[in-house]
Amino acid sequence: MAERLRASRCPRCRRIVVPPASLCPDHPVKMEAAALPPLGEVVTFTTLHSPPEGFRAPLHIALVELEGGARLFCHGAATEGVKIGSRVSVEAVDSVFYFSNIGFADRARLFWRRAGARGERVAAIGKSVVKGVFNRRPRGQD
């Protein structure tokens, strides 16, 4: 499992942003350092066919929402099979975020590792499977 992602949290409104910012976007209040598990859901994505200088076409860009609500921009190797609501893992390489699709088995493993007591583990795997099935249908999510 990839490393946790560096983030920052507003001590006043608890908002979390990635990458860390010095002040909260909603108040002129200094944010505190935080870290988030590198797992999230695709909010939306696009493929750019004439990217700006310094990037190769096709350029896949996704906006991913991490657990906790922080959203971040990511690059990806492909968007094939990616849908709005797809579960992805995010990795930072040289401070650039990359997303990759995670399958059923990976998801179950991740939940297994994160879950504590046995009951929670089973519930987590169940949730993961349900989520996988649910993700095949269009969802009212943005």
Partner: protein, 365 residues
């Protein structure tokens, strides 16, 4: 305003053409003050100290001037500043002139300069304005159930309107199939969903005197420059706040609006904006467009000028040109595309909806 499109004149000449036409139309040779809008003349044409440059070019070198900038909505920001100067009693008449000159540069360079209005972190991922619009379009298609057909019909309608406007950049109609089959720019956004790169200038003369058209309400709305900080991608908070402020100032709501100029830099933005301004009920803008409700002859003609899509988008001229079109419509001088209207609404988007404006204009009886 000038004809929009590929123009050979330099930026001060284009802005002077627009300004002199507005001054002559108003019968005012020497306004008390000048508000100038240009998004980025420093980069596009290498011109600086822009307020004084334009004032001097206009033969108004001793008239006080300021320059205003809010990215792609700079034109209306200048109108707002002039409106505030007059409302505060600082001046009786203020000339507002905006313009941009871009077509002399290669397209990637123009995109790069416009792209500087994006959050630097997000820009470092290769995001451009079309990329951000592509992200929003995909979310809107999923969440609002918008289809490629509805989005494409916006471009078809606005091209049909532009064909009737002698000031428009594009004067040829386009077929729905041509729009739907044009090449992908930022999936699912296609080339014919995007506005062109245009040159041009536009001007208005605002005065404290009673004239044929008055500004009934004007409002500004803001949102984070970082798209990742927003929780809602399929409506623009900045438009909603601007509309609320404009309606509050005017003392009436969207039901009174007969005609609208909407910032369709990307075709789906017209659909989103019609709902954000309350002109069309939530979820109905796609259907209304397919049914011709927003075409000339429909219930609520939208972008009779051709919009950004067909009239063109010389950045800081655009917001002003929307109000010029509404003035002409309310005065009954929009030859070839005249509709019957008493109240008009203009909506302008700055950056990726970080600094938006809604203006309500009304014919004075």
């Amino acid at each position: 305003m000038t004809r929009f499109g590929r123009r050979d004149e330099n930026l001060p000449d284009l802005m002077a053409e627009a300004a002199l036409a507005a001054m002559s139309d108003a019968g005012i040779e020497r306004p008390d003050a000048l508000v100038v809008a240009a998004m980025n003349p420093e980069e596009f044409t290498g011109e600086g100290n822009f307020g004084s440059l334009i004032a001097t070019r206009l033969g108004l070198s001793t008239v006080p001037s300021v320059r205003v900038e809010t990215a792609t909505s700079s034109g209306v920001a200048a109108v707002y500043a002039a409106f505030a100067e007059i409302s505060a009693g600082l001046h009786r008449s203020v000339l507002v002139v905006g313009g941009e000159k871009m077509t002399h540069l290669p397209t990637p360079r123009v995109s790069e300069i416009i792209g500087r209005s994006i959050d630097p972190h997000e820009k470092s991922y290769g995001t451009t304005m079309p990329a951000l619009a592509g992200l929003i379009t995909r979310a809107a298609m999923q969440r609002r159930g918008l289809g490629l057909r509805e989005i494409s019909q916006v471009a078809v309608k606005n091209h049909a309107h532009g064909a009737r406007n002698p000031y428009a950049h594009f004067r040829e109609p386009v077929a729905l199939e041509a729009v739907m089959e044009s090449r992908l720019v930022a999936d699912p956004l296609r080339l014919f969903h995007c506005c062109p790169i245009s040159d041009g200038g536009a001007a208005l003369l605002l005065t404290a005197e009673r004239r044929m058209v008055r500004i009934a309400g004007i409002g500004q709305g803001a949102d984070s420059i970082a798209v990742r900080y927003r929780s809602d991608l399929t409506s623009f908070r900045a438009t909603q706040a601007a509309a609320e402020a404009a309606y509050r100032m005017a003392g009436f709501g969207p039901a009174r609006v007969d005609i609208a100029e909407i910032h369709d830099a990307f075709a789906p933005f017209e659909l989103i904006s019609l709902e954000d301004t309350g002109l069309v009920p939530p979820g109905k803008s796609g259907r209304a467009t397919l049914d011709g409700e927003t075409a000339i002859g429909g219930r609520l003609p939208v972008n009779t000028s051709g919009g950004l899509k067909a009239r063109g988008h010389p950045l800081a001229a655009t917001g002003i040109s929307q109000l010029v079109e509404l003035c002409w419509q309310l005065r009954g001088t929009a030859e070839g595309r005249q509709v019957s209207a008493r109240v008009g609404l203009a909506q302008s988007i700055g950056g990726l909806a970080t600094n938006n404006w809604v203006t309500l204009v009304e014919a004075v009886r």
